[in-house]
């Protein structure tokens, strides 16, 4: 059989590919009666037997519209679906016939220059294997795989070029369909690609609650070629998930929407979206989100697709990220294996080997009880759950784990770590678990046998794997041995099985320190050191440890201290995951210094008598050793006590303290000046890594009880609500403490608050705001990475033409961020406003203004004004010096005597050839930025660079020199100049007393207060300095060249040519700078070149002055209205000769601090 799968994927890599439109809806439009269906009314699939011309005509109409890919008439072609019409026995035949029919039509429309492809459509079976539905949720994974097998065989034998598994509602069913395709590959002998598509409802989730991040985490671990969305809603509701896939999926992304949600209009079922709207919305998604495959689902006609083809045209395929997100997932959401701050907490209690309670429940088949333990662990802060039901008393571990896993998937949002030593148990659990799990564990106790037994299942089901550092010699006890074993395991798991290093998690083994045996005294230290060695030697891999084993056998009080010290040092060494009981971990800061020292002596093997000293110290201490605490509290005044209670999570008795506090002071004062500062300290400690999440949550509980008590004293404004606020922590962010506080404050001040919780997708926020006609939307984010959702939400609101003001806040947010977020387009503010609230009280103040129509408009105007002046918008207005740097006092930069130019005035540089430019080409930027190599790492990067980019560059350099499509030209000039305040004053070359131009540059408001003007001799010293300007271009033929290539379908060559031309202009600028240095007799590294648009000279409008001075039209460059150069492969610079010149930023922000949310 001829194989077009590879050709199809080549096309996908080359340009945006367009699928056809609705099959089912097209048939419905014909309104066939029972006879029209050949007696099998409603069975679209039967038409390929009964009246194939109907299907042929539909295919032909879409191909005439210009689409690239047809879908076969097999959406309901699985055995179970055909069975409904009594056609189950003809499953293979039907699919094969439909594929052959589509291939025939596609062949008719194919030309030597353009192949039309056929996608084998596989729709859902209607079963929901991940659910507990009594009818739909019973089928085992393997049974669901079987339901797809015949369909897959028929489609493959009928010659489809790609499988499209679509409209999936249950992610586990999708995995089963993928499995059926993969298992058929050997039989069919060719690799037919897989396009896996899910259907989300209007809330952005699949039917059983899977969100888009979980979908991606699960599918990235599956052998699929394209990941996408289809059907169910129109494109507008798909924007948010499409954006997510577009941003993070390493595989090409498809979006195949309905023509809107069907409506009943005058008694007619109508898909509301018109062809133009569909086409425009799809184009926008291609442009904005990097969607590479589009098409139409229900309600899309050939006319819809004709417009899509016109609107999209021939567009190069978007570039995909090279690196997968390191996520695991439950059925509902994804969780990063790299927690920040770390480690990822794996709850240890859902384990019959580690918890007596769990074992008792498991022996009694008490699943509800086991689920309660799981929920508790998650509430206490576990990011994932270790699950183990192994028991010597029972032999049905496989069935038990499968059943428990199914229930857990439907109950808890935390992903699972499946803990068993039995391959068949792990297999059963993996095949039942809809999410992306972690397998715990493999080792090399019996050589590679265990790995070989388990890895195939782990890989097939997309799981990450824990590997213990155990080999035939035994458990590795020294750091060096741990590394040695890890390397051997890595060789097999990454080398032979091709698992991503990021899915391989080493357990460096924890041994009890209580035995006192010489052999183990250094064991904790070796374990910690092992983490360091492994993470250094094996890039990408992760590490995990069960913590509590380290203190096994010690007094319970001592155990907590030793566990805490061990965890602290392991995390410091790089530990990524810790298996612990989340609420039992003690923060290091709370440990008595003496006890910490005793524990560290033991863990770090600092002294030989560490164990006896520790044992002696804790001798007789009972678990209620908190005895000291009440005394501590009794001595404090009530405010200090409240602060202490919140910080140290001592919630019992906090109500009485509140009562006491309000007897002395105003309740609002208690809230503002006692409780909130305590919570802030908790947040700060979390940010700096001193506290892990579970503690923060416990502090929040204490806070909640305090506030609940305080509310009894706070005056509540009864009656009419002052306004309505929709609050949410943005998607991807699980931190909602700050937001909850905002809720408390606003509610207590008379506002109606709709708190949507955390991890809320933009769609839902907007929906709720519309539904409640909100006065404003409040968004919170803790992390810099998730705060990106805020501008997105604002853009979506703007896109939808809505008018809700947005208040943003959270640790990652500052006023400047709010200013930037306000702008939805080039200089266009979101008219209802985006406001920054630094805390709940500023939020309250903002709400008070927003809910008052008069004050509201003033606030909005003021905010937009502030934002406009704060956000530097080069090219719109002359740059204004920030207020803070209003003083023009010169920095400490010394005045140096100027160099002597070879001439005064302007010339074109001679002898400028491409050959002279090449040595100045910055290949790193070219390869990484312009040629899409960003994110490729290690061996893959070496392969790409040496195997493709470098030879390609050599070839292109040769061809470019020969064909002359890059024509380097340089114009430059030397002008007399002096500094005056923040300005560089330029004088006429022929008359050095006459000012002909003036460039004003911003000055740093703080630090060294640098300004470019300081690099020039000030006026009034009787000496004229030299100002040097240059403009370079590689000519307008470069743009034309790329366009021509594009037109001839040489998309990748066009892409590479464009990149080369842009980077050549930079290389040319560097070359020109070197020549200028030489002309001035300067060292190769003296001075710097400043281009406009960068922080120290931000104002692009100054290009106008550059044009006046250099007359850039002489070398074929002109300025656009936005003060950009045309052709774009041109760049201008101010060449500064001062030996101390350097690049500097204007704002005083330390990026590292900003990333932690401290800015």
């Amino acid at each position: 059989m001829e194989s077009r799968g590879g050709e199809f994927l080549d096309l996908v890599r080359e340009r945006v590919v367009i699928y056809d439109g609705a099959m089912g809806a097209s048939i419905l439009d014909l309104n066939l009666d029972a006879a029209g269906y050949g007696g099998i009314e409603g069975c679209n699939e039967y038409l390929v037997f009964h009246n194939p011309s109907i299907i042929e005509n539909i295919h032909a109409a879409f191909l005439e519209a210009g689409v690239d890919v047809l879908e076969t008439d097999t959406f309901g072609g699985s055995r179970i679906k055909l069975e409904e019409y009594g056609l189950g026995d003809r499953t293979y035949e039907q699919n094969r016939a439909a594929a052959e029919l589509a291939r025939r039509v596609a062949a008719e429309f194919s030309t030597p220059g353009r192949t039309r492809f056929v996608a084998g459509s596989i729709g859902p079976t209607g079963l929901l294997p991940a659910s507990e539905d009594p009818l739909l949720g019973n089928a085992r994974f393997e049974e669901v795989v079987d339901l797809f097998r015949e369909q897959v065989r028929g489609l493959a034998d009928g010659g489809v070029d790609v499988f499209i598994i679509e409209t999936t509602q249950d992610i586990l069913e999708l995995r089963a369909a993928i499995r059926a395709v993969i298992e058929d590959r050997e039989r069919v002998g060719r690799r037919i690609p897989i396009q896996a598509q899910v259907t989300l409802d209007t809330s952005g989730r699949m039917l059983l609650g899977t969100d888009i991040a979980a979908v991606l985490a699960i599918l990235e671990a599956q052998p699929v070629d394209i990941i996408g969305l289809n059907c169910s809603t129109g494109p507008d509701l798909m924007r948010e998930p499409a954006r997510y896939l577009g941003e993070y999926s390493t595989r090409p992304v498809s979006v195949i929407p309905n023509a809107g949600i069907p409506q009943n209009v005058n008694g007619r079922a109508v898909f509301p979206l018109q062809p133009d709207e569909l086409a425009v919305q799809l184009r926008q998604m291609v442009e904005e989100f990097g969607i590479g495959i589009v098409g139409g689902c229900c309600g899309t006609t050939p006319e819809h697709l004709r417009r899509v083809v016109e609107e999209i045209g021939i567009r190069p395929a978007p570039i995909r990220p090279a690196k997968k997100l390191p996520n695991i997932a439950s059925m509902t959401r994804a969780v990063s294996l790299f927690q920040d701050p770390g480690p990822m907490i794996v709850g240890e209690r859902v384990n019959t080997l580690g918890s007596r309670k769990m074992k008792r429940l498991a022996l009694g088949d008490d699943y509800d009880g086991m689920l309660d333990i799981a929920r508790e662990q998650v509430d206490e802060g576990a990011h994932a759950l270790d699950v183990c039901v192994a028991m010597t008393e029972r032999t049905d571990e496989r069935d038990m784990l499968r059943k428990l896993v199914k229930k857990l998937a439907l109950t808890v949002e935390a992903p699972l770590v499946l803990d068993s030593t039995e391959p068949d148990v792990l297999r059963a659990a993996l095949e039942q678990y809809p999410g992306r799990a972690v397998v715990n564990s493999v080792n090399m106790e019996n050589g590679r046998a265990r790995i070989d037994a388990i890895l195939p299942h782990a890989v097939a089901n997309g799981a990450a794997v824990v590997a213990m550092t155990i080999d035939e010699v035994g458990m590795a006890k020294t750091a060096a041995r741990k590394l040695e074993v890890a390397q051997a395991i890595h060789q097999i798991i990454v080398g032979d099985y091709g698992l991503d290093p990021e899915a391989l998690i080493f357990d460096t083994l924890t041994f009890p320190l209580s035995t006192g045996e010489e052999e183990f005294t250094r064991s904790a230290l070796e374990t910690i050191e092992g983490i360091r060695l492994i993470e250094d030697a094996l890039p990408g891999v992760l590490t995990i440890l069960g913590i509590s084993n380290v203190s096994f056998g010690l007094n319970p009080v001592a155990r907590k201290v030793v566990n805490a010290v061990f965890l602290y040092h392991a995390v410091a060494a790089g530990l990524d995951l810790a298996i612990v009981h989340p609420s039992h971990v003690m923060p290091l800061a709370e440990i008595d210094p003496l006890e910490r020292e005793l524990a560290e002596d033991l863990v770090l093997a600092r002294r030989p008598d560490a164990l006896p000293r520790l044992v002696e110290h804790f001798e007789g201490r009972a678990e209620t050793a908190d005895a000291a605490t009440p005394d501590v509290l009794a001595e404090m005044d009530v405010a200090t006590r409240l602060h202490y209670r919140i910080l140290h999570r001592k919630k019992d008795g906090i109500e009485q303290d509140i009562d006491e506090a309000v007897a002395e002071r105003d309740p609002v004062d208690v809230l503002n000046n006692v409780l909130l500062p305590a919570m802030k300290e908790v947040g700060d400690k979390f940010g700096s890594g001193e506290l892990i999440l579970p503690f923060v949550l416990q502090s929040a509980e204490a806070m909640k009880r305090a506030v609940a008590q305080l509310e009894k004293y706070l005056e509540r404004e009864e009656g009419v609500s002052k306004g309505t606020v929709v609050l949410a922590t943005v998607f991807g962010d699980v931190h909602d403490i700050g937001k909850n506080l905002v809720n408390t404050i606003l509610t207590n001040n008379g506002y109606t608050v709709h708190d949507l919780g955390k991890q809320v997708p933009v769609n839902r926020i907007i929906e709720k705001a519309v539904e409640t006609n909100a006065t404003a939307i409040g968004l919170s984010a803790l992390l810099v990475s998730t705060s990106k959702q805020m501008p997105l939400a604002v853009k979506e609101l703007h896109h939808a033409g809505l008018a809700f003001p947005v208040i943003i806040g959270g640790a990652a947010i500052n006023r400047a961020y709010a200013h930037r977020t306000l702008f939805v387009g080039e200089g266009e503010p979101y008219a209802p406003g985006v406001f920054y609230a630094k805390d709940a009280f500023e939020g309250l103040a903002l709400m008070d203004q927003l809910s008052d129509p008069q004050r509201r408009s003033a606030l909005v105007e003021q905010t937009i004004r502030d934002a406009e002046s704060a956000v530097q918008r080069p090219g719109r207005e002359a740059f204004s010096v920030p207020a803070a740097a209003a003083s023009e006092e010169r920095s400490a930069t010394p005045v140096v005597s100027p160099p002597v130019p070879p001439f005064w005035g302007v010339r074109e540089m001679s002898d400028v050839t491409l050959r002279a430019v090449w040595p100045h080409l910055d290949t790193k930027t070219l390869f990484r930025l312009h040629w899409g190599g960003k994110g490729v790492r290690d061996g893959a990067w070496d392969d790409l660079r040496e195997g493709d980019f470098e030879p390609r560059l050599a070839r292109m350099e040769r061809e470019t020199e020969r064909d002359g499509w890059l024509q380097p030209r340089v114009r430059y000039g030397y002008f007399p100049a002096n500094a005056e305040g923040n300005a560089v004053v330029i004088y006429a070359p022929e008359d050095p007393d006459r000012e002909i131009a003036r460039f004003t540059f911003p000055r740093q408001p703080a630090r060294e207060r640098l300004c470019l003007a300081d690099y020039y001799v000030p006026v009034g010293q009787g000496v004229k300095d030299v100002a040097v300007f240059q403009i370079v271009t590689v000519g307008e033929r470069a743009t034309r060249h790329a366009e021509e290539l594009q037109l001839h379908g040489e998309y990748s060559e066009a892409f590479f040519s464009h990149g080369l031309s842009v980077q050549s202009a930079e290389g040319l600028a560097e070359m020109a700078h070197q020549r200028i240095r030489a002309e001035l007799g300067m060292a190769e590294d003296q001075g710097k070149r400043y281009s406009w648009g960068y922080p120290s000279c931000p104002d692009l409008a100054q290009h106008v002055i550059v044009d006046q001075l250099l007359d850039i039209g002489e070398i074929g460059v002109r300025l656009t209205e936005g003060f950009q150069f045309d052709p774009e492969q041109s760049t201008a610079a101010l060449v500064v000769t001062h030996p101390e010149a350097r690049y500097f930023a204007l704002a005083n922000v330390d990026p590292a601090r900003a990333e932690r949310g401290e800015a």
């Binding site: 809806a25 409603g42 729709g123 129109g234 069907p262 009943n264 008694g267 689902c297 519309v770 409640t772």
Partner: protein, 280 residues
């Protein structure tokens, strides 16, 4: 007066429609799958299990809520005749299914689908006047443990005296469509209900100019059935028994103070006979 069937003319807001409309016009097309802005009465879980959502297939696996209906017995659903037509064209039975057992659409934890086997349109139905607007859906399989509703007897005048309070309920858009204009859909996922009062025939006839014997009117200030409620019941509860008096059929606008809602009168002998003959 141009009379249009209820699933054409009205969407299902059983509520304060005027306020709704003003609020709803601002809703963009992608918003609010479960609109609550209108303040209508969302019914409690487990209510009215005899009411079903009649759904229309619009694509391979895409269905939409189309009309309401009631369970007469394990195999028969009563709805409006005009629900059997899509844009004036008769709908094939294979493109109709009903959602049974839950007030929340698509909530498979509590409800399920049953396919239609046949659509039996009342032979005396007149599509242009909406006279005798009734249809029975024959199901492809029996509904186990079906909760049914009784219909009022032929010729009975019970519960039909002017002013009598009756309930009507359903899922439909809370937005009214004007002819020819596509207004964004606003389907609630959870059923809503409202109480209206029977309007005298003479009053209703004076409003519309013409009223057939097989029609009964009901209204209440600011309350009405609306588009998408078509086929659903006008009913009451006597003791433990649910009794259906009418089928949501047509009307001018929704909750227009000058026009009551028009329902098919089940006690009309022609309608009663149609139901009896087709529910053996």
């Amino acid at each position: 007066m141009n009379l249009v069937p209820r699933h054409l003319r009205r969407s299902v807001s059983l509520l304060l429609v005027l306020t709704v409309m003003i609020a709803a016009m601002a809703i963009p097309s992608w918003a609010a799958p479960e609109p609550q802005i209108v303040g209508g009465e969302q019914v409690a879980k487990g209510s009215y299990k005899f009411i079903v959502s009649v759904q229309l297939r619009v694509g391979g696996s895409e269905w939409m809520h189309w009309c309401g209906g009631t369970i007469l017995d394990k195999k028969h659903i009563l709805t409006a005749a005009h629900c059997g037509y899509n844009g004036g064209v008769p709908i094939q039975a294979s493109n109709i299914r009903v959602w049974v057992g839950s007030v929340k659409l698509a909530d498979k934890k509590s409800g399920f689908y049953v396919n239609a086997k046949d659509l039996i349109v009342n032979p005396t139905y007149n599509p242009s006047t909406q006279k005798n607007d009734a249809m029975i859906i024959l199901l492809s399989k029996r509904i186990k443990k079906a909760k049914t509703i009784s219909v009022v007897g032929s010729g009975s005048t019970d519960y039909q005296t002017p002013g009598y309070p009756l309930t009507t309920a359903g899922w439909g858009s809370t937005v009214q469509y004007d002819a020819g204009e596509i207004v964004p859909p606003n389907y609630p996922r959870v059923m809503r209900d409202v109480v209206v009062n029977v309007v005298s025939d003479s009053q209703c006839e004076s409003e519309y100019g013409v009223l057939y014997a097989s029609q009964i009117c009901a209204a209440a200030p600011g309350k009405d059935s609306c588009q998408g409620d078509s086929g659903g019941p006008l009913f009451t509860k006597v003791g433990d028994t649910w009794i259906q008096v009418g089928i949501v059929s047509t009307g001018a606008g929704c909750a227009d103070p000058e026009y009551a809602g028009i329902y098919t009168r089940i006690s009309d002998p022609e309608i009663s006979a149609f139901i009896a003959e087709n529910t053996p």
